[in-house]
Amino acid sequence: MATITTIPHMPVRNGDDIDNTFDDARIRAPLIVGGKGFADVTRVVTRIALEEPPGWWYLAFAGALGLLSLMGITIGYLMLAGVGVWGNNQPVAWAFDIVNFVFWVGIGHAGTLISAILFLFRQNWRTSINRFAEAMTIFAVICAATFPGIHVGRPWLAYWLFPIPNQMAMWPQFRSPLLWDVFAVGTYFTVSLLFWYVGMIPDLATLRDKSKNRIQQILYGIFSLGWTGSCRAWHRYERAYLLLAALSTPLVLSVHSVVSFDFATSQLPGWHTTIFPPYFVAGAVFGGFAMVLTLAIPCRALFGLKDIITLRHIDNMNKVMLATGLIVAYAYSVEFFTAWYSQHYYEQFAFQNRVFGAAPWAFWCMFICNVFAPQILWFKWARNSLVITFIVANFVNAGMWFERYVIIVTSLQRDFLSSSWGMFKPSWVDLALLAGSFGLFFTLFLLFIKFLPIIAMAEVKSIMPQAHAHGHGDPDLDRTDYRPDETAHDHPGGKAHPAV
């Protein structure tokens, strides 16, 4: 074995967080700390699903359920009264409903990015966060899909969106970006759900085997499909997982691109821009990581997952957020440059209007939250501070909502003819639906953290140093070129290196 440097001393921060964020190029930092072995990972994660939830869970669930009922009541009222109860008008026919749709679809991007793109790039740190990031994706897409569904005006005819044979010989118009959206979001939801479920099968089997309760055993047994950890099955499973990752990678980039086509293919100044697809995708990843951090920081503290979701994971996510934030900042600047450089009167007016015109507060909220706030993440002490990270992530969450408001509403308010200008003011139904969508999201998320494995146990175990055979003279294995997660000396017997 080549010389392997021992792990440097890792100081303890914030009380009991072990700081594994050192950058020593000769050695990979451990991704699981605290001297954990396989059984420790199983115990820490299964306990969350199998035991009674803590008191705060009931409180949070009650709150989320309250907001969800608000959403239900508001949608009921909307169906009875019609979309006139919203603040939408002419010319602002797309307002909170589409803003919320784009906001939630955007949040849904981080999950698949973490599970697919980081998987293809062999970023092993993804294993600690991919499960609940994927769950977040699915719940965010459910929230997103609600809004166009109720925005169609007659939601009971929403099935017209799909090419269902019918007696009217009526088909969707496939050259419309709105219909591409139906296919893009529908495919994205289906594939994300499959990816999430396939990843969860081995962990559901762990819950089945660890459960002492008959009902839990039966239910986890049904959903784990009789998984036995057979290596012949693992072989096909890993191949299927790789294929899903390879398929999801262009998919995740396509979804927000298609969403951006809804705007980019129109003639409206402020929408009609070729930069939209990459700009939307970067923004989606930016906002998605902010939401992952918003959920991960409380979860790791409340469920004792600090040794699995370590400071290094937080640090890496902050770096992704900073990088995508810079792409977003660049896109904002290029839009202004293009407006000036085009010498196109209406395009120039649209961007002046954003900064100084009808609703400048929305623009400045967006700009401060998305461009200024993340700059603090250049500093390592800020990335390692959970409080600062949490605050920045929430700035980004808010900023990304305002970004969509700025793009959609301020562009519609003042288009070509001043005689057709109009202002938008949200009604209470708009605000209740926005709040209610958070209720739907958190209700689903709280159910997930209570009943399902929130950490991908099998994947976390497979990146621990003791998961790799050491060969000892075996020709199949005595390779010196590839030692994926070697951190110290041999770790026989499923024991990790000693606690640091």
């Binding site: 396989f38 199983t42 090419p163 044979p165 007696q167 010989a169 118009q173 496939f174 050259r175 970006p177 219909l179 591409w180 296919f183 495919t187 289906t190 499959l194 990816f195 396939v198 081995p202 762990t206 089945r208 085997d209 660890k210 047994g221 049904i222 499909l225 009789g226 036995t228 950890g229 057979s230 290596c231 012949r232 099955a233 693992w234 072989h235 096909r236 499973y237 890993e238 191949r239 299927a240 294929l243 899903l244 398929l247 999801s248 262009p250 998919l251 396509s254 298609v258 099998a458 497979s462 003791q466 998961a467 790799h468 055979a469 000892h472 199949d476 294995l477 994926p484 026989p492 499923g494």
Partner: protein, 208 residues
């Protein structure tokens, strides 16, 4: 269920009138503590020429495919077929519904409709690529998942291995080598002594 049952005939004819069918040895199972040991065991069993056997582990082990002699799965080819079906299906769907007026042969009132949108041609490939892309990805992903499950013979809720209390740790931190009694080379005493030499944590007969 580590019973030390003496040899009994392994045919279905061994039914006594009172006790019903005698339990059959379904497999012999050896438990290991770490990856190195189970890799060594896998190579030994592979080299002994067994075919109906398996290694069970809590996570995919890097390099176990070679140690067990597992051949590459056919799954990627199935996914390619699924993807091509999706691509052609998407093409057919968009073309037939929006650019043709061909009625379906056996169904009444089912035919495409040529939308006239801003005087554009009724058929242009570029406008239909997003939908074709999505159907390609969708069918590929469905094939990857359901193909994997079918090839793995899942769901399969009955498995004699589940009767073993020890086997519950396969999804936690233990590794098992299981040799199926239906293997043509299976001989209970020989298999037991071969596995015994590999120094397992435990050795157990699994009954059906």
């Amino acid at each position: 269920m580590s019973t030390a049952i003496a040899e009994h005939p392994t045919s279905h004819a061994s039914v006594t009138e009172d006790a019903g069918p005698l339990p059959q040895v379904a497999a012999v199972m050896a438990e290991f503590e770490n990856v190195d040991d189970v890799m060594h065991a896998a190579r030994t069993v592979r080299d002994a020429g067994f075919t109906r056997w398996d290694v069970h582990s809590p996570f995919p082990i890097h390099g176990i495919d070679g140690a067990m002699g597992i051949k590459m799965t056919v799954l990627p080819w199935l996914v390619l077929c699924g993807g091509l079906t999706g691509l052609l299906g998407g093409l057919a769907l968009t073309w037939w519904t929006n650019a043709s007026k061909i009625p379906t042969p056996f169904m009444a009132n089912l035919q495409g409709y040529q939308f006239l949108i801003s005087g554009k041609p009724v058929w242009s490939l570029a406008a239909n690529i997003p939908v074709m892309f999505e159907t390609t990805v969708l069918l590929s992903a469905l094939t990857a998942v359901f193909g994997m499950l079918i090839l793995n013979r899942l769901p399969m809720h009955y498995n004699p291995l589940f009767k073993s209390e020890r086997f519950h740790r396969v999804t936690d931190d233990r590794f098992f080598v299981v040799i199926d009694s239906r293997d043509p080379k299976f001989n209970e005493s020989e298999v037991t002594s071969m596995l015994q030499k590999l120094n397992p944590l435990s050795l157990e007969k699994v009954e059906d």
